[in-house]
């Protein structure tokens, strides 16, 4: 078929809009695609309007406007993949820094404390950012809570190594929070979603036991 006229193009555009596509970029892409199809695949005798209507029906198994949602999902998925790669590489880097710092500390080389603090700091900040990012999708306070508590405990350990003040307090917050805040919330969520079983029940019990036993080992007078 010959090139479409301006009024034909306008008719196709209106049809796309009638199907609920509001994303301008998607409207333009689909419009050009449909015009190309009509111009290249339709014989001169064919009813081009019927052809376009049929092609639009074939574009999505449910309805054309679902393409917009799928586009957003694609973007989100690809962004998440990129984010996971960055988080994983940064965490590996922080672990490498931490190990380097420990080696420096063992050999009493200068700069050990700085490297350890840097490694721990990067790891904690990355974990927190990752937790906040995931929380948007999971809509769960559980994940962010355990990350905060773990961050508190690991920073407490770091403070302890460095002989800085408030080390015990930070560790205590991590331990007590895990045993008396995270475990009950997590168990409640698992119970209400019917996902509580012997395996995760035992895991939570062990976590509670570890938390309370570590708490009992603390000398509160040292705080």
């Amino acid at each position: 078929m010959a090139m479409l006229h301006e009024k034909d193009i306008h008719w196709i555009k209106q049809l796309i809009l009638e199907h609920g596509i509001t994303d301008q970029a998607l409207v333009e892409s689909l419009l050009d695609h449909l015009c190309c199809m009509v111009e290249n695949e339709l014989t001169t005798s064919g009813d081009w309007q019927l052809f376009v209507e049929n092609e639009i029906k074939k574009m999505h198994p449910i309805a054309l406007h679902h393409l917009q949602t799928e586009k957003e999902i694609f973007i989100q998925q690809l962004k998440n993949n990129n984010m996971n790669k960055i988080v994983s590489n940064t965490l590996m880097g922080s672990v490498a820094l931490l190990l380097t710092g420990v080696i420096f500390k063992i050999f009493h080389w200068p700069g050990a404390s700085f490297i350890i603090v840097l490694g721990c700091g990067i790891g904690t900040v990355t974990s927190l950012i990752s937790a906040l990012h995931h929380n948007k999708e999971m809509q769960s306070v559980k994940f962010i809570l355990i990350t905060l508590l773990a961050a508190s405990f690991s920073m407490g350990c770091l403070f302890k190594i460095q002989h800085w003040p408030f080390a015990n307090l930070l560790m205590l917050v991590g331990v007590l929070g895990t045993a008396f805040l995270f475990v009950p919330i997590s168990l409640y969520q698992l119970k209400s979603s019917n996902q509580l079983n012997a395996q995760n029940g035992l895991m939570h019990f062990l976590l509670f036991l570890t938390g309370t036993m570590t708490f009992m080992l603390f000398d509160l007078s040292m705080m």
Partner: protein
């Protein structure tokens, strides 16, 4: 024609590879090239192609050049330097996956005494 489930997992790699080999292309051109190169065994639907192309653009893997053809707009897609790296990575991943699948099927067939 292969099922959409099989094509879905490799769509990103197909698009990036096409752009790497051909420089710049527009959507319809891509669907026709894939159709011709695969002897019509792979048909990319518009419903899968454009959301993926727009997502790749949003993430900076592809860039667009707009050309006006009368009252309509045609977008030519091409790879950015980041997209070239992604394309190579995705191709390596797909090649390794196909090799693993080939070995898996070969081993299974040998174990069951099927001819390969």
């Amino acid at each position: 024609m292969y099922s959409s489930e099989l094509i879905k997992g490799t769509l990103k790699t197909i698009i990036l590879h096409l752009l790497k080999e051909n420089g710049k292309m527009y959507g319809y051109e891509m669907t026709q090239m894939v159709k011709a190169l695969s002897q019509e065994k792979i048909q990319i639907t518009e419903g899968a192609l454009y959301p993926m192309l727009h997502a790749l653009e949003a993430l900076g893997d592809v860039t667009t050049e707009t050309v006006y053809i009368g009252k309509r707009v045609r977008k030519y897609y091409s790879l950015t330097p980041q997209g070239k790296t992604t394309s190579s990575e995705k191709m390596k991943e797909l090649t390794a996956f196909l090799e693993t699948m080939g070995n898996l099927i070969k081993k299974q067939n040998n174990a069951h005494g099927y001819a390969t």
